[in-house]
């Protein structure tokens, strides 16, 4: 097994072009598990840990550019105010050790339907910056996931960063697992209210072959809030509308029965999470 250690981003991209089969490694919290289970026998490993650019984040043009190598711990400690949804999702990841090593870029690289960053990124309409020696492109996150553990990267591309607006409103994330920590999501849900544009964003995890958006639920909720003049009045949404929102989220899911839970439970839980996260977000909105 060959082990490549580029010192710069440019070098990393060149190596990836020269050897597209090279498997990138960031925190290694997915890669090493795969090696351990003998699911992969990569000939070449491309270690991105020396590429300092990857672990930086900065504001740019009214958005935030967060390097693919920023760990969950740093999202929590440095970005909770600007990216509260992603920070909440990050808090639910693994254990302190995993949060110290694991990165959002790695989560995107693995593209597991259960990845906890995904619902938060979907709800907040993030886009993913991917690069190769040929140049860079931005992929809207809802076009990034192609199938279970498959993403839109070309063989010579690496994930450079993801882009997000500093939260234009309350954001929430909730995940159901049968243990109180260190658990892979049975299902998860991300919600973001955009107060400026008066829109709603959602993300569903672990209840379909890829992380999903609940488009109809988003539109329904945005309309219900607009129709009732709720954004201005701050009045709570009628119970029936809150429940409808939950139902629409549940309907958007495409869950299956597996060892972690049943499809029926996932749908039910998503409806509950959707209602609750909206209630918390709305409470935060009205509290000012």
């Amino acid at each position: 097994m060959e082990f490549l250690q580029p010192a710069t981003w440019r070098e990393a991209l060149e190596m990836k072009t020269a050897q597209p089969q090279a498997l990138p490694i960031a925190g290694g919290t997915d890669v090493l598990v795969d090696l351990n289970f003998d699911r992969h026998r990569p000939e070449v490993i491309l270690d991105l840990n020396r590429v300092t650019e990857l672990s930086e984040w900065q504001p740019a043009n009214g958005r935030l550019r967060v390097g693919a190598g920023v760990s969950y711990s740093r999202v929590i400690s440095e970005l909770s105010d600007r990216l509260p949804g992603l920070a909440l999702a990050s808090r639910s990841v693994g254990s302190p050790q995993i949060r110290n090593r694991g990165t959002v870029g790695g989560n995107l690289g693995s593209a597991s339907p259960a990845g906890d960053a995904h619902p938060a990124l979907l709800a907040t309409r993030a886009s993913i910056e991917v690069s190769s020696v040929r140049g860079s492109r931005e992929i809207p996150v809802d076009e990034f996931f192609l199938g279970p553990k498959r993403n839109a990267l070309k063989p010579d591309e690496l994930i450079a960063a993801f882009w997000l607006r500093p939260a234009p409103g309350p954001q929430q994330f909730a995940k159901v697992g049968t243990r109180n920590a260190m658990v892979i999501a049975v299902c998860s849900f991300g919600l973001a209210l955009d107060v400026e544009q008066q829109t709603v964003g959602t993300g569903i995890g672990s209840a379909g072959p890829i992380p999903l958006r609940a488009g109809e639920a988003e539109r329904f909720l945005a309309e219900a809030l607009a129709d009732g003049n709720h954004w201005r009045s701050g009045q709570p949404l009628p119970q029936s509308a809150r429940e409808r929102f939950g139902e629409l989220v549940a309907q958007a899911a495409r869950p299956i029965d597996d060892v972690r839970g049943t499809a029926a439970f996932r749908r039910r839980a998503l409806a509950v999470l959707a209602r609750r996260t909206f209630a918390w977000a709305w409470q935060e909105y009205t509290a000012g």
Partner: protein, 773 residues
């Protein structure tokens, strides 16, 4: 006898441990700091010069006939020294704790997914694994028998000679046609639990160059391993020497052989030391599990809440091989009605062969499955009677003089009512305003599923019991050698047994006993090995009792000799030597004056005594399930407080409280550890732990999806420890290790039922069980 060849010190298990306090003191365990700091050498850390690595090819099928095995390609792989199949076995081809029915390497057929078929020894573990994958096995895949009820019915394939019913047991107690005014019934399904020791199976076999072998091994019983190995290797027992290597937890999972025979076979074949270490996935098929079960119960009581009868039918799935199933079903039946006096009972138990993973010993040993059932039944009965659940239990609690359903009379203190009253009267944790609590205190934890919505609190109670020591006439004894001598100017007591320290603190206990019995401040406990007689297994909560008894007896023999030495040396002044005792490294007379210090008295003399300790024998159950089958009974009660998110079916255990009678706490800190650890395992089974098996295949063989409690799932344990003294046991002690794992889970289930108002009958509770889906 050839001495065990010492390994380089770096890899050696702690060769001897110094113990610095006597019984009743919370003496710290000597290996504690090493374990916490990561310096303790576990069996997986063993290393020897020139060592090869062994790997095991396992069956991918739960049931298949083996037509042929071709090892040529594997043998030609780089680094490979040996490839073995059943055809290479020198001795007995099968092994087993009670019935030798499990192939060392499969021949004719495989009966479970993961059964060992071939072995490889190679220079590097990866070479060994790759070569093992190149062994070609021609299987004729057969339809697995995976339903235990089908096994009972006699339909389906017969997996072993004599059919699929491994043991059927019927207990008839009192009037078999008793009727009652109030009757409740229920059916309970218990999932398969894994012992989940943190250290997977591992060990190192070193050939002695003269045809014998030394095995360094993490096990629960060195001698029973040795005897099985001797038969398999076709060697006299004295040429198979075992030394205990660092054990990373056991909980019953190390009672059966795993890699022991395989490593020895490869070592003897290659003439090189061979190490085998399982990974976690292999570990899931490398040891037996707790039996899953289906239990059907009917309880009858009078209007005052007095039990009239219990009828139970208990079906345990033994899986592919016998392991200790026949003893597990005996326990399951003996204690089926719980720690309550029932005048009449009919208990029917089956343990059967299937093509599921083999099941055997796990902490609680048959008393766990039934406790979920009888405690659920008691709550149901209380509800039917309009009685408080604890009150109902108090009215029926066992007392001294009552009998088990097996007819065995209850002797000594039987504090079931007191234990229940104690947990009842402990203060309850306060109900904080759910919406202001830290997420970590709510169901779902940091996953942020509720800020108080849907959260209902419930409180539940359970009592349980089981036997300590072996049952049904199985010979129970332990051996200890105790030596007193002067080392570097100080009197030193050395304790040597073959009893396994599996993390329960046995090394410390042995040292404490010698410390107290011989009054010597410098006590060392030698590493366990087979140079001394059998200590029996570290199981059945028995070691402090039985090996403790052996150490005490050997100490008494040493003390006797020292006193005789003193009397003859000093001349017995008017027979007062009869009352001398040993304390503070000296001989002390009745007035507390030092007669002589031990260093002076002993000089160059080495006083060494080996003794066996045998508690009173037990007897087999007869055809009506009657007999004094059990040695000592240990009781505990638990109270659980849970918060359930009733919309999501998620559970947070807020607190566990327990009261347990330990007879005498030899080491109070160790007792505390057992009460907490056992409760954690009970909680795990109650709400998350289950080996999921589908058509004979394990669906979740890793810690990714076999979930065990984390620190955020395990609440603080409030405890009261009673020391009521058993008149028959050494120091009055009772076995401690298992009762905490018995009633803890059922208390959690009771609390969940109280919170949700639902009849939950599946263990572990799944979210779906708490919702109408």
């Amino acid at each position: 006898m050839i001495e065990a060849r010492p390994l380089p010190t770096r890899q050696r298990p702690v060769a001897q441990s110094a113990i610095t306090g006597g019984i009743g003191e919370s003496v710290k365990r000597p290996e504690g700091v090493l374990k916490v700091s990561g310096d303790f050498p576990y069996s997986s850390d063993l290393w020897a010069e020139g060592m090869l690595w062994g790997s095991t090819l396992r069956s991918p099928h739960p049931y298949a006939r083996i037509r042929a095995i071709d090892t040529t390609q594997a043998a030609a792989m780089p680094g490979v020294h040996s490839v073995l199949t059943h055809a290479d076995l020198p001795g007995r081809k099968v092994y087993g704790l009670e019935i030798a029915d499990q192939p060392v390497l499969a021949f004719d057929c495989v009966r479970y997914q993961g059964e060992a078929v071939a072995l490889v020894a190679a220079e590097h573990p990866e070479q060994a694994r790759r070569a093992a994958a190149k062994v070609r096995v021609d299987y004729e895949v057969l339809e697995p028998l995976s339903d235990p009820e089908l096994a009972i019915s006699g339909e389906g394939p017969s997996l072993h000679e004599g059919g699929n019913i491994l043991r059927r047991l019927r207990i008839e107690h009192g009037d078999q046609n008793a009727r009652a005014e109030v009757v409740v019934s229920g059916e309970y399904v218990i999932g398969m639990q894994d012992q989940a020791p943190l250290g997977p199976e591992s060990g190192l076999a070193v050939p002695d160059g003269e045809g014998g072998v030394d095995l360094y091994i993490a096990t629960q019983w060195l001698h029973v391993d040795r005897d099985q190995l001797a038969a398999v290797l076709a060697l006299p027992p004295e040429r198979v020497r075992l030394t205990l290597a660092g054990v990373g937890g056991a909980f019953g999972g190390r009672e059966d052989l795993s890699m022991q025979a395989h490593a020895c076979l490869l070592a003897l074949r290659t003439g090189r030391p061979v190490k085998i270490v399982y990974g976690r996935q292999e570990s899931f098929v490398g040891h037996v599990h707790r039996h899953p079960g289906r239990l059907r119960y009917e309880h009858g009581a009078d209007r005052n809440g007095r039990l009239v009868y219990v009828k139970a039918s208990i079906v345990l799935d033994g899986g592919a091989y016998a392991s200790s199933s026949t003893a597990v079903i005996s326990n399951a039946c003996s204690f089926a009605s719980g720690p309550y006096a029932v005048p009449n009972a009919t208990i029917e138990g089956w343990v059967v062969y299937t093509n599921n993973p083999p099941c055997g010993a796990m902490r609680g040993f048959g008393s766990v499955q039934n406790c979920f059932a009888h405690e659920a039944q008691m709550d149901k009965l209380a509800q039917a009677l309009g009685l408080d659940p604890v009150e109902l239990r108090l009215r029926n609690a066992f007392q001294t003089g009552d009998t088990l359903v097996t007819g065995q009379p209850l002797e000594g203190p039987i504090p079931v009512a007191e234990l229940l009253q104690r947990v009842l009267s402990m203060p309850l944790p306060e109900t904080a305003d759910a919406s202001r609590r830290d997420l970590r205190e709510l169901p779902g934890g940091v996953s942020n599923t509720t800020h108080g919505e849907g959260v209902r609190r419930g409180v539940g109670y359970a009592a349980g019991f089981k036997n300590v020591g072996y049952s049904e006439g199985f010979p129970d004894y332990s051996t200890a050698r105790v030596t007193l001598r002067v080392v570097e100017g100080r009197a030193q007591a050395e304790v040597h047994t073959a009893s396994a320290e599996v993390g329960q603190g046995l090394v410390t206990i042995q040292g404490q006993i010698a410390h107290t019995e011989l009054g010597v401040s410098q006590v060392v406990v030698l590493n366990a090995d087979t140079r001394v007689g059998s200590g029996g297994s570290s199981s059945a909560s028995r070691q402090t009792y039985i090996t403790g008894g052996a150490v005490k007896t050997a100490c008494e023999a040493v003390r006797q000799r020292v006193l005789e030495m003193a009397r003859s040396e000093l001349g017995d002044q008017a027979g007062s030597g009869e009352n001398w005792r040993l304390a503070d490294d000296s001989l002390i007379d009745t007035s507390g004056r030092t007669v002589i210090d031990l260093v002076t008295l002993l000089g160059d003399e080495v006083v060494s005594e080996e003794r066996e300790y045998r508690p009173r024998p037990t007897e087999p159950l007869d055809e009506r399930g009657q007999g004094k089958a059990h040695l000592q009974l240990a009781f505990a009660a638990h109270r659980a407080v849970v918060d359930v998110d009733v919309e999501l079916g998620l559970v947070h255990v807020v607190e566990l409280a327990t009261a347990q009678d330990v007879g005498k706490a030899i080491n109070p800190l160790a007792v505390e550890g057992q009460l907490e650890g056992g409760a954690a395992q009970g909680l795990g089974l109650a709400i998350m732990e289950q080996v999921l098996v589908k058509d004979g295949k394990i669906m979740n063989p890793s810690f990714t999806d076999y979930l065990i409690p984390t620190i955020l799932d395990m609440p603080p344990v409030r405890m009261e420890v009673l020391e009521l003294g058993d008149p028959r046991s050494p120091y009055g002690l009772k076995g401690v290790g298992e009762p905490p794992a018995i009633s803890s889970g059922p208390a959690v289930l009771a609390a969940i039922r109280a919170a949700t108002g639902r009849e939950v009958s599946h263990v572990p509770v799944r979210p779906d069980d708490l919702l109408d889906l």
